[in-house]
């Protein structure tokens, strides 16, 4: 089945130690998104790629960066994790942007803990 896959399911890192989360998709979708979700809150969009075009949300901290080396893979890099970055990180895809193309498909998420 076509899907969105995130690895690892759980990630533990140390305060200030860089960490990378990965996402892959077999849907051949043009858009890939990274969301941050803290406990009992709604998902918050960090950024998205439309193909190779990167779009950062205005309130996403500089500490968060992303790479999309090809259509299938997208990475979230947290350069210096703080305690406040502990959260569930969700990757999503959509076929495109605009009416009819923005149905979101989510991976199972990576739960990040910062010690």
């Amino acid at each position: 089945d076509a899907m969105v896959i995130q690895n690892p399911r759980y990630q533990v890192t140390q305060f200030g130690k860089p960490v990378t989360l990965s996402c892959s998709q077999t849907l051949n979708h043009n858009v890939m998104y990274w969301y941050q979700q803290k406990s009992s809150q709604a998902p918050k969009l960090l950024f998205h790629y439309y193909d190779k075009d990167f779009n950062n949300e205005a309130d996403t901290p500089d500490n968060f960066q992303s790479r999309r080396p090809n259509t299938s893979f997208c990475f979230l890099d947290i350069r210096s994790p703080g305690l406040g970055d502990a959260a569930m990180y969700l990757c999503a895809t959509s076929r495109g942007l605009g009416p009819g193309n923005e149905k979101l498909f989510f991976g199972s998420g990576t739960q990040l803990s910062v010690l």
């Binding site: 979700q37 809150q41 709604a42 998902p43 918050k44 969009l45 949300e57 569930m88 969700l90 999503a92 942007l97 605009g98 009416p99 923005e102 149905k103 979101l104 498909f105 989510f106 199972s108 998420g109 739960q111």
Partner: protein, 110 residues
């Protein structure tokens, strides 16, 4: 940006009962989606429904775009329906960020 509000915030149902979840949005939308987040955190897309009515098994959804609301109906609820239900919307006119509502936490008890 667009404001999305959901009600009720919490809901407890006896297994077999029916329920209606509501999503209000502050502006006209061209994108309205309903999601179920299970207890393990997985977000499942239930409906992509900017207008009209759709049904999928025991679930159905209706969006009345002119009145700026959407409803999710759950019939004959099961314990596996437990979790958090989110609606998410974006406005028309080129790319607009999808905004999630605050969610409805549903618990179905046997």
């Amino acid at each position: 940006g667009i404001q999305v509000e959901q009600s009720p915030p919490d809901l407890i149902l006896q297994e077999g009962a029916n329920s209606t979840l509501r999503c209000n949005f502050s502006d006209s939308v061209n994108n309205l989606q309903w999601f179920h987040q299970n207890p393990w955190g997985q977000l499942i897309n239930l409906f992509y429904i900017p207008s009209g009515t759709k049904q999928n098994g025991r679930l159905s959804a209706t969006t009345v775009a002119t009145e700026r609301y959407s409803l999710l109906y759950i019939s004959s609820s099961q314990t596996t329906d437990s979790g958090v239900y989110f609606c998410a919307a974006s406005r028309g006119g080129g790319y607009q960020k999808v905004t999630f509502g605050t969610g409805t936490k549903l618990q179905v008890i046997p």
